[in-house]
Every structure is written in structure tokens, then in C-alpha cells.
Amino acid sequence: MPDTLTRERRSELLAAATHEEIVPLAERLLADGAVPEPTVVKAPETGMVMLQVREPVEEIRFYLGEVLVTECSVDLDGTPGWCMRSGDDRVAALAGALLDAAAAAELPATAEIDALCAAVAERLARADAAEWAEVTATTVKFEELT
């Protein structure tokens, strides 16, 4: 799986990772010197992204409302890294951007980062499947009384 991880998929998984999943890894890679000190291009900023939906009646777009996100950009010896994730956890956004840059720069630490992404993907797939199994248990075919 790590071989097939696109940059967007990695960003999605780093965004879906918990604080406890990505922050310790980023801190350890920095402490070990496996990842150089990044330049913070855009400090973690908490703000909103407007969720735009295309509705089915006229197929027009409308704004449903805004979603709280935190965004961060870094630069790792010339390779840019970026993270946007829901909520207001600035430390996790910084860690996500750092790990994104390290993987984009194809540093040796990429294997560890992609292993973490694989674990997140596995956790999400498991939760999704468990939820779907619970939901399908409520499948119904009502009978009409005649």
C-alpha cells in the first residue's frame, strides 16, 4: 500500500489521523534528526472553509455552511508541505504539514509516515465497515396491509 499512496491520499489520511497518531511521530522524527527543522511558511491558522454543495433539483451550487479547519504550510529544504484538518488543533496541523513535506521529499522517514497512514486507513476502513454492518442490520422491507 505505501507504494501506491498518492500525495492527496496521504494528505487525507494525515488529516484524518488523531493528534496522538501524528504528533508523537513528527516530534520523534525531528528529535532523531530524520527530518530537518522545517521553515514554517504559513503558521497553523484556524479558520473556516465554506462547504459548497450541488443540489439535485436544479443542479445549482449553494453554500451549506462553514466548517472549522486548521491549515499549515511548511518548507523542508525546498520541498513544500501542507496540511488542512478539521477542528482547531494547531500542533496536529503543523505535524501533518511536516510529515507531508518529509514524504514528498522522499526522505527515508517516508516508510514510517506511510506506515502510519496505512494504520489510519485500516482504522477508518474498520470503523466504516463496522458502521455499515450495523446500518445494514436495519434494512427493512415493509409489507403493505391489503
Binding site: A15, M50, R54, F62, G65, E66, R126, K141
Partner: protein, 361 residues
């Protein structure tokens, strides 16, 4: 008429606020954790998020706690907080078909393509006040945790994908297609007020932010109005999660950065008389943040009715102007502040008019 400022009373105001804080933080019961609110008062959190116009469950939980459970006040706190945050951008347009479903029912079709999934609901069971604190999950708890492979067996129902339950009505010519060829930019009600004559995108945004109780009420009085035509039946009601997708700044391709729980409804309503083109139904759409089924259904009903006839009883105007919780409660709250000057001047005006009338008599 307006609010005139007053001066003084600082000590009394501080003492009054202290009483509020004592009620909020004091007493023998421990302070509610945010986690308790987001997990166990989740419908309140979803409602406040929708009315505040910001999906941020932890902030909504904070607002509910600070407002001591007053959901209107909580939505106002969230809306005000929202105005302090920068807008980092706009998501890529997401379609209804991208909803990851956790519940999907069709009140109109017994056996719709894609199946009926009741999901988490107590719509079909008696709802009785439980007077004993058993914390009992009842006999509904699954005996074992389902494994991922179990889901593969369920092929009759589907997790996502568009199945247009209105397709049959279109094919029979009972519903006129309204798909637009152009792709207008959405109207942003957070930047410009929604007023009659603004595009439908403004109406949908205003309804999505509407105060749930007001929305339910406005829908209710109009749904029963004989002027509004035939019976309304929802084609489909769904809950699930929509992806928040943005453009990756370094690759230019879409990336999903978050998933937002939403409730969606599509409703149809017949007409009393056939129209020149032969169509006999109209279609309405509702979508709101979180789990809020009454809101989605009422929104779809009002979207439909405004499309059908925006002017009778100023329906479009009411939908756009009268349903915002923070606006309505803000106006009401301000009435409780000192209006001494206004009141005095009102009395003086009335007296002057009466005196003038007396002289004329």
C-alpha cells in the same frame, strides 16, 4: 425607534453577571465535560451547529454549556464566534451522490432502488419518558461486534451513489425537469443579505441556517394551507457524511480534508389541477448540518412551496427574513435593555397628538 445608551450601574451589572456565573459553574454537580455534550446531547450540538452556520462540534458544545442549555443563545454565541474567524477558502462542489449513508428511508416508495435502511432511529417504536436511570441499552445491543467482511454480504442496499427516486415522475411527465444549463455562482448570505428576488442558492443557505423551531412552524402553517395545493410526501430522507474537498495547493487535485454529518430530504407535492404541460408535482430539497430530520424535511417542503408560489402570504420573504435564530433572538433580547428615552419620547409624541386633536376638536 432605537436603543439609546445609558451610563452607570457597573457594580450592579458585575454582581448580576456573578450570579449567572455562580449558576453556571457553582453547585454540587460537576461541570459538564465537552465530551459528554458532544456524545450524549448530540442532537443539541447538531442543531446549534446548523443554526450557527459553522460545523465545529466542540465549539457548539462549549456554546451550549455556556448558554446553560439555551440553544438559541448557543447558536448566537457560535455565530458571533464565527465572525471572528478567517475564511480560508471554499470547498469544491460536492454532490448528493457523494453522501456516505447511515440512514436512508423513502416514505413514498415501499421498495425503492437502493433499499430502505432505517439506521439509528426510534421512529417506529413508542417513545415513553424513562423514569428510571438504568442506562439500559435494552435488547437492541448487538451480541458481537460485526467484522468488516460482514458488510460485503449486503448487496441489496448501497452505501452511496445517486438513485433519483423522482426518476419515475420525470419519465411519466408528472414532474417538470428544472435542471439549469448554466452554473451560477452561489449567493453568499454571510456577505450580503438574502432578500426576495435573490437566487434560489440564497434560499437554500438561509433555510440551512434557519432556527429549527421557527422553520418547523412556518412549514407547518403553510403545509396545511389549502391555498398550497395537494399532499406532500417525502421521496427520500437520508443521513450521512459529506466530504469537505479542497484543491491540494501543491498538486492541484482534490483532497478530502474533513467529513461533515448532514441530513438530506427530497419531497414532492402534488397540485390540485393539471398544469398546461401536464406536470402534477413539484420537488423540493433540504440539506442541513448534523442530524436534524425535522429541519431537512421542513426545509424541503418550504423550498418546494416558495418555488411553486413565492408571493402568497409573502412566503419567500418570510423564508428569507424571518427564520434566522440569532437575528430574531437578538432583536428580542435588546428589548430588555433600557429604552427610557424611547419610551419617554413615545409618550410625549402621543400626548402631543392628543393635545393637537383636542385643540382641533
Amino acid at each position: 425607534m432605537g436603543y439609546s445608551g445609558v451610563r452607570g450601574g457597573q457594580e450592579a451589572i458585575a454582581a448580576a453577571e456573578r450570579l449567572v456565573r455562580e449558576a453556571r459553574f457553582g453547585g454540587s454537580s460537576p461541570w459538564l465535560e465537552l465530551d459528554q455534550i458532544t456524545r450524549h446531547l448530540n442532537l443539541a450540538v447538531d442543531r446549534v451547529s446548523g443554526e450557527g452556520g459553522l460545523w465545529a462540534p466542540d465549539l457548539a458544545a462549549r456554546a451550549i454549556r455556556q448558554a446553560q442549555g439555551d440553544l438559541l443563545e448557543a447558536a448566537q454565541l457560535l455565530r458571533a464566534h464565527r465572525s471572528t474567524l478567517p475564511r480560508l477558502g471554499y470547498s469544491l462542489p460536492v454532490e448528493s451522490a457523494e453522501l456516505t449513508v447511515v440512514r436512508r428511508v423513502s416514505p413514498a416508495h415501499r421498495n425503492p432502488p437502493g433499499g430502505q435502511l432505517l439506521g439509528r432511529t426510534d421512529d417506529y417504536t413508542p417513545r415513553i419518558l424513562e423514569t428510571e436511570d438504568t442506562g439500559d441499552m435494552g435488547d437492541t445491543a448487538p451480541a458481537s461486534h460485526p467484522s468488516p467482511s460482514d458488510s460485503a454480504a449486503s448487496d441489496a442496499v448501497s452505501r452511496s451513489g445517486a438513485r433519483d427516486l423522482a426518476a419515475g415522475l420525470y419519465e411519466q411527465g408528472l414532474l417538470a425537469g428544472r435542471h439549469r444549463g448554466d452554473d451560477p455562482e452561489p449567493y453568499d448570505i454571510t456577505r450580503a443579505p438574502a432578500r426576495p428576488g435573490t437566487p434560489r442558492s440564497a434560499r437554500l443557505s438561509a433555510l440551512a441556517r434557519a432556527e429549527t423551531g421557527s422553520l418547523t412552524h412556518l412549514w407547518y402553517v403553510n403545509a396545511h394551507n389549502p391555498l398550497r395545493g395537494g399532499a406532500e410526501i417525502p421521496l427520500e430522507l437520508r443521513r450521512g457524511r459529506l466530504p469537505l474537498k479542497v484543491t491540494h495547493p501543491h498538486t492541484g487535485r482534490p483532497v478530502t480534508v474533513a467529513r461533515c454529518p448532514v441530513t438530506e430530504a427530497r419531497t414532492v407535492r402534488s397540485t390540485d389541477r393539471p398544469r398546461p404541460g401536464g406536470s402534477r408535482f413539484d420537488l423540493g430539497y433540504g440539506l442541513c448540518f448534523g442530524e436534524n430530520e425535522p429541519k431537512a424535511v421542513a426545509m424541503a417542503g418550504l423550498d418546494l412551496l416558495v418555488h411553486r408560489d413565492p408571493h402568497t402570504e409573502h412566503l419567500e420573504q418570510k423564508v428569507l427574513i424571518a427564520l434566522d435564530g440569532p437575528e430574531a433572538s437578538g432583536f428580542l433580547e435588546h428589548l430588555k435593555l433600557p429604552h427610557y428615552v424611547d419610551f419617554r419620547s413615545t409618550i410625549e409624541r402621543v400626548q402631543a397628538v392628543r393635545a393637537a386633536a383636542g385643540e382641533a376638536r
